[in-house]
Every structure is written in C-alpha cells, then in structure tokens.
Amino acid sequence: MNKNLLVVLGVIIALVVIVGGWTISGYNRVVTMDENVKTAWAQVDNQLKRRFDLIPNLVETVKGYAAHEKEVFEHLADARTKYFQAPDVKGKIEATGDFERALSRLLVLQETYPQLKANETFLKMMDSLEGTENRLSVERKRYNDAVRTLNTHIRTVFGHFFAGLAGVSKAEYYQIPEAEKAAPKVKF
C-alpha cells in the first residue's frame, strides 16, 4: 500500500513540476516577446524624433533658396506637433504619415531649385536626413518582426492562453500608408 502511495505521490509531484515549469516558461515567453515589441518601438520612436530634430536645419538651408514656399514649412511644423501630441502608437503612426507627405514636398523643392544640389551644406543635410530615413526603415522592419513574432504567438493555442494570463495584447504593425510608399526617397 505504502509503495503505491509513494509512486502516486511521485507521479503527482512530477506532473506539478512539469506543468509548473511549462506554465512559467510559457508566461515568460509571452512577456519577453511583448517587451521586445516595446523596445523595438522605442527604437522607432527615437529615429522619428531624430528626424524631427534634423528638419529645422534642413528647412533653414532650403529657406535661403525657397523663401516663398512657406506652406511646405508650415505643414511640417503642424505634423510635428501632431506627432508629439499623439496619445498612442497608432496615433503616432498616423501623424508620421502626415509628416512624410509634407517632407516629400520639401524634398521636391530640389527639382525646382537645382542650385541646392551644388550646396555642400545642403548635401550634408540630405546625408543626415537620408541616414535617418534609412535607420528608420531598419528599425521599422525590426519592430514589425517583433510584432509578427508576438502576434503570431498570441494566435497559437497556448500563446493565446498565456497572453491572457500575462495581460499581453496584440501589437500594431507599422504600416506605411500606400500614398507614402514613395516618400521621402531622395534622388539627385
């Protein structure tokens, strides 16, 4: 009798350990994925801010050649404000779309004022801007990869369960609205 009891006890303990371990790792996994998404977004946000910071300089350089293109500059300022006032990731993504529209119009000015292309200050400015845009697309891609990992996992049977347990919800992809797909690519 005793022996049987021990065996049963042993099995129960083993089961508890296994299930416990499984639960902990499942929970941890979901939490880690969520944290990765947040970190990735922070990277994107940082690059977006960096882009905003570069713009005033760019505007100053261009203004010297295109003083009467005031409208473009105003749109940029408005979009920038909208971004910083946006309450969540979704809002920020939308505001970024507006900003990118305005930015592409600014860049088009190069065509109207070709003297800009000979200006080394302007060219250096464009290097910085392009660099930021490039960094942005790298971080966007990494963000979307992290989101994909999380969202796919949340959709799986166990992932769904653990996500509920940990209070983790699906994340928003960073989609570039169709209209902006071309902006702000710079071609000399």
Binding site: T32, E35, N36, T39, A40, A42, Q43, N46, Q47, K49, R50, D53, E120, L123, K124, M125, M126, D127, S128, E130, G131, T132, N134, R135, L136, S137, V138, E139, R142, D145, A146, T149, F188
Partner: protein
C-alpha cells in the same frame, strides 16, 4: 561491407544537407558568401597588388582598433536598393565586433554606378552620415567618374582609417540613437544563415569518418589524423595574407550612399 554502405548512406545524407540551400528560391541579388579577406572584389576592378595593399591596411586597422572595414565590389544590384542590400550584407557578414558594433562596409556596384558606405551602430559618433557622405563625394565620386576604382577606394579607405584611428572608437553611438538593445529584438540567426548548422554537420561527418578509419587502422596507429592538421589555417583558403572573420557587429542603417 555493412560498414561501407552505412558510411555511403551517411555521406549521401550529408551531401544533400549541403546541397539543399541551392534549391531554395534565389534572392536577387543573393548576399555574397562570407569573405575570408577584407576586400571582396567581385566586380574585378582592383588588381592583385591593390587588393593586397588594402587587405594589409585593413588588417592592421583591425589589429590596432578592433574596427573591421570591409570593401565589396560587385557588378549589379539587379534592381535592389543599395541601402537594403548593403545593410543585409553587413549584418550577415557580422562586420565589426559583437557588442561594439564597430564595422564599416563599403559597397560599390560598378555597372549600376552606385556606392554605399554602411556604418555600424558603434561608429556613428565618429562617422556621422554627413561626414561619410562628404567622404564619398570627395574620394569616390570624382575618382569613379574617371574610372579609377582603385584610386577612389584606396583614398576613401585611407580617409576612413584616419578618422577611425584618430578618434575614440569604443563607445556606442551618441548622435541621438539610443543604445542598441543587445539581441532581444532580433531573431536568433537569420533564415538564410547555415554556417552553424554546416559546422555541426561537418563535425559529425568528420567524427564518423574518423571512427571508421580507426576501426580499419587499428594496427597502423593514428594514420587518419593528417588531414586535420592541414586545416589549421581555418576553413578559408587564402592566397594573400588576410583573415577577415566577422565579429558579429550590428548595423542600424547609418552611413551614406551616392552615385557617379
């Protein structure tokens, strides 16, 4: 007899493993294979002397500063934007030391007349985009327009090396980008990389052969080991002195592109 057919079967299996990547859909253009040197002249625009000189220069640079600078020339990007090609290649080759992310990749697409200087996270403070852009315009564009690829690349590498060894190299980027979060965001190992897998398979393969050889050469002694000694220099067969092996550095997309 049974031993031989067993070995043969194993050989077949491993051969298939290695050939498998060939059946995968091609990425145009595919990321070139990991180079064993600092200069990978796929477009053939540099002569042997220039390559050797550059290799030596870049090897010294790495020895002195741990910064890895790699030069890649190829014919065409086949429509792929140079930014994404350059970034993927730099990351795949792991240029720069892991953690320090201090790598630079110079890509020149000769037929497309495009170039890009890709700068790792860790070098962004001493090689900001505007500096790299100016460097490209000054050294690469002017020389490339004359058809002088060697001159342009050597001049650019010299300027970069001076900047790198002149400034402090070790600290991470400061130009507004945050400290790069280690490896949490990235998937472990890109889908295309098979090197660790290949290495493991190769090891097992060799082990099996060794065991089989030992079984046969029980009396003769360690006759099967001689070919391990030959591989002492690493897997790369290098004609020139070289020895670039990726340190696992990461890239955030900094740098500058241009055309001529």
């Amino acid at each position: 007899m049974a031993l031989k057919s067993n070995l043969l079967k194993r050989l077949l299996v491993f051969a298939l493993f290695w050939l498998y990547p060939a059946f995968l859909p091609a990425v145009t253009p595919p990321i070139p294979a990991q180079p064993s040197q600092y200069v990978e002249d796929l477009a053939g625009v540099l002569n042997a002397e220039t390559r050797a000189r550059l290799n030596a220069r870049l090897k010294d640079l790495e020895a002195a500063t741990t910064v890895q600078v790699v030069v890649l020339t190829l014919n065409s990007l086949e429509g792929e934007p140079i930014e994404s090609f350059s970034h993927q290649t730099a990351v795949k080759w792991g240029i720069g030391q892991k953690g320090k992310d201090n790598g630079v990749l110079i890509t020149v697409a000769v037929k497309d007349r495009k170039y890009r200087i890709e700068v790792g996270y860790g070098l962004e403070s001493i090689l900001p985009d505007s500096l790299v852009g100016s460097l490209g315009r000054e050294y690469l564009v002017l020389n490339f327009r004359k058809g002088d690829f060697a001159g342009g690349i050597v001049a650019a590498v010299t300027a970069l090396a001076d900047k790198i060894s002149g400034g402090q190299v070790v600290s991470k980027a400061d130009e507004g980008s945050p400290p790069h979060p280690a490896t949490t965001v990235r998937q472990s190992g890109s889908p295309g990389s098979i090197n660790p897998l290949t290495a493991v398979l190769l090891l097992i393969f060799i082990l099996l052969i060794t065991i089989n050889i030992f079984r046969k050469a029980r009396k003769g002694g360690g006759g099967g080991f001689f070919w391990f000694g030959g591989g002492g220099g690493g897997w790369s067969s290098g004609g020139d002195s070289g020895g670039f092996s990726g340190g696992g550095g990461d890239f955030g997309g900094g740098g500058a592109s241009g055309d001529w």
